[in-house]
């Protein structure tokens, strides 16, 4: 390990340090009541860490490959880092209002968020299955905790338990997969997997890897935890996990499948196509009649995982480009949608039913507008980022001659419009229920403005981001 190695991993290091600083700050300022102070100090610290990481991420390191070949910070890592940091940053902005209102421990919260982000980034930087495994665990353990953070809420407890037990279950398969791949290939180095002949043992190992990553990404049928956990977890935690888990998992997918196993693409591609189809159908159909918005967004995130998997299942530069673009856009639009929910409160509880949105237009027009915009983007309609992202993925699918996959993708996105627009229309019409009150929060406002602007920017002027991820894709070849 050298300074150069540390330099390569500087974003992760900054985030880690920031997390530790948050914890220390929290310990320093917490009084005898063990309640966090109502100030936003921890949040600002976390935000500063994220900002610094963004800055560092902008500069490519001198030597991309570090830590004895186990770690790589190439353009792909940069793109993944960007998505992760974008998600983390917006989450940090969204959280203070909620944490204060529900008296959740801010220090722990921010530290966990930052740690989780580190895990996701690490998955994107993995050049070795061991690192990938570590990244996965660093990503998911904080999420388990975040899900259960509202210790007094039975729903939160339940979410934590379900997430933890199923997560551990899924991780076990993943590790077993790592072991079998190791046994078949004799190495954990992803860059050396390419030349390994495809044996059944390797195949089973890869299949088990798929399960672990698929669990994290909430691909059907490994998704069952997601709706319950999303619904039960505290809102900002839900928002965060919906994004960061996807970033990590798909970074892992990219590292394992198109990059490490290009020769076997015929085999795994077919399997992933099937998974993607099942996921898109399952997620979208189950979301149709949800009345709880968090749950609806949970199914929606499942469906989106299916879409993103298209980019993996259709190997090639177009697919990778699509996945990376999608991750960034997804982070922005999903957090925008959750952000509006954070503003709502029903008698000291979350107001997370669709019906609670009624009349939002009259009370908080801009929030309602952003919600509608994000819904439109989630539905994949122009002129939003969601459309361009889907366009790239569909292109990848057709280029790889996966016509059926493309067909299912477009048709299920039609189905998805049904529930997304229902939400948007609910926010823009009707009269507000008395019990629900919108809260004001400057940071949430900033986050929503960012999300709204991002959704439009990525939709109307996609060239900047496209060029950025395009570089990532080209650098890999």
């Amino acid at each position: 390990m050298s300074w150069r190695d540390l330099g390569a991993a500087s974003p992760e290091l900054v985030l880690t340090v920031a997390a530790l600083a948050v914890l220390l700050y929290d310990a320093w300022t917490t009084g005898p009541s063990l309640e966090s102070p109502r100030g936003g100090g921890a949040g600002w610290l976390a935000l500063a860490g994220v900002a610094l990481a963004v800055l560092l991420n902008a500069f490519p390191p001198a030597a991309p490959v570090a830590f004895a070949g186990m770690y790589v910070r190439d353009r792909l890592t940069q793109a993944v880092t960007l998505a992760a940091l974008l998600g983390t940053g917006i989450t940090v902005l969204l959280s203070p209002a909620y944490l204060n209102r529900f008296r959740l421990p801010a220090g722990e919260y921010y530290a966990l968020v930052l740690f989780s982000a580190v895990g996701a980034i690490l998955m994107g930087a993995a050049r070795n299955l061991a690192v990938l495994f570590l990244g996965l665990e660093i990503l998911s353990f904080p999420l388990y905790t975040l899900a259960a953070l509202a210790t007094r809420s039975r729903r939160s407890q339940e979410a934590g338990l379900k997430y933890l037990l199923l997560g551990a279950f899924g991780t076990a398969f993943f590790v077993y997969g790592v072991a079998l791949v190791y046994g078949a290939a004799g190495t954990l180095d992803l860059s050396r997997l390419a030349g390994v002949p495809i044996t059944p043992l390797l195949g089973v190992g890869v299949a088990l890897l798929t399960i672990g990553l698929g669990f994290e990404a909430a691909l059907a049928p490994f998704h069952a935890w997601a709706p319950d956990v999303y619904e039960g977890a505290p809102l900002p935690a839900t928002a965060f996990m919906s994004v960061i888990a996807k970033v990590g998992a798909f970074a892992g997918f990219l590292r394992v499948f198109p990059l490490a196993l290009p020769a076997a693409s015929a085999q795994w591609s077919a399997a992933l196509v099937a998974v993607a189809i099942v996921t898109m159908i399952w997620g979208n159909l189950a979301a149709l009649f949800q009345t709880n918005l968090k749950r609806l967004l949970a199914y929606s995130s499942i469906a989106h995982a299916g879409y993103m998997l298209i980019g993996i299942a259709a190997p090639g530069p177009a697919g990778t480009l699509g996945v990376l673009y999608y991750l960034v856009v997804y982070a922005v639009m999903n957090l925008g949608a959750f952000g509006v929910l954070i503003l709502l409160e029903r008698r000291g509880e979350e107001a997370d039913e669709i019906a609670d949105l009624a009349g939002l237009w009259g009370r908080a027009p801009w929030a309602a507008g952003v919600l509608a915009l994000c819904m439109v983007s989630l539905a994949g309609l122009p002129p939003t980022g969601g459309f361009i992202a889907k366009l790239y993925l569909f292109r990848a699918a057709l280029e790889a001659r996966h016509t059926a996959l493309a067909l299912v993708a477009v048709l299920t996105s039609v189905v998805s419009v049904y529930y997304y627009l229902r939400v948007a229309a609910a926010a823009l019409s009707g009269t507000a229920p008395d019990a629900v009150a919108p809260r004001r929060s400057a940071t949430v406002g900033i986050a929503l403005a960012l999300a709204g602007a991002g959704v439009l920017w990525f939709g109307i002027l996609p060239s900047t981001l496209t060029a950025f991820v395009q570089q990532a894709v080209q650098a890999l070849r």
């Binding site: 061991a130 495994f133 570590l134 665990e137 353990f141 388990y144 905790t145 259960a148 210790t151 039975r154 729903r155 407890q157 339940e158 979410a159 934590g160 338990l161 379900k162 933890l164 037990l165 551990a168 279950f169 991780t171 076990a172 590790v175 077993y176 790592v178 072991a179 079998l180 190791y182 046994g183 004799g186 190495t187 954990l188 709706p227 319950d228 956990v229 619904e231 039960g232 949800q290 749950r295």
Partner: protein, 99 residues
């Protein structure tokens, strides 16, 4: 004992763990079943490390152990918290969230 037997043993252990997750209702025992699965994986790692003659696998065992330990920490915290609220750790009673 030849390698395939070790591998088979670990596979059986892994399967036992899987079945345990599926059939046991106590959260604690489900948890222990997962630990069993992880340890089965460890056995696989060690076997392959020995077969392949590298140390990667053996190093990874430590990683897995640490991870398992961390998992226990978080898990027990959550389970205890649930027990406090509901006086039960039966996973079938935890079904508030569904649909």
């Amino acid at each position: 004992m030849p390698a395939p037997l070790y591998l088979s043993l670990s596979a059986v252990l892994f399967a036992l763990g899987t079945v345990g997750v599926l059939v046991r209702r106590s959260a604690l025992i489900v948890f222990m079943s997962v630990e069993l699965m992880l340890n089965a994986v460890n056995l696989t790692f060690v076997t392959f490390a020995r077969l392949r003659g590298g140390v990667d696998g053996q190093v990874l065992v430590f990683f897995v152990l640490v991870v398992a330990a961390a998992e226990v920490v978080i898990g027990l915290a959550i389970i205890v918290n649930i027990f406090r609220a509901r006086e039960t750790v039966d996973v079938d009673d935890v079904d508030l969230l569904r649909g």
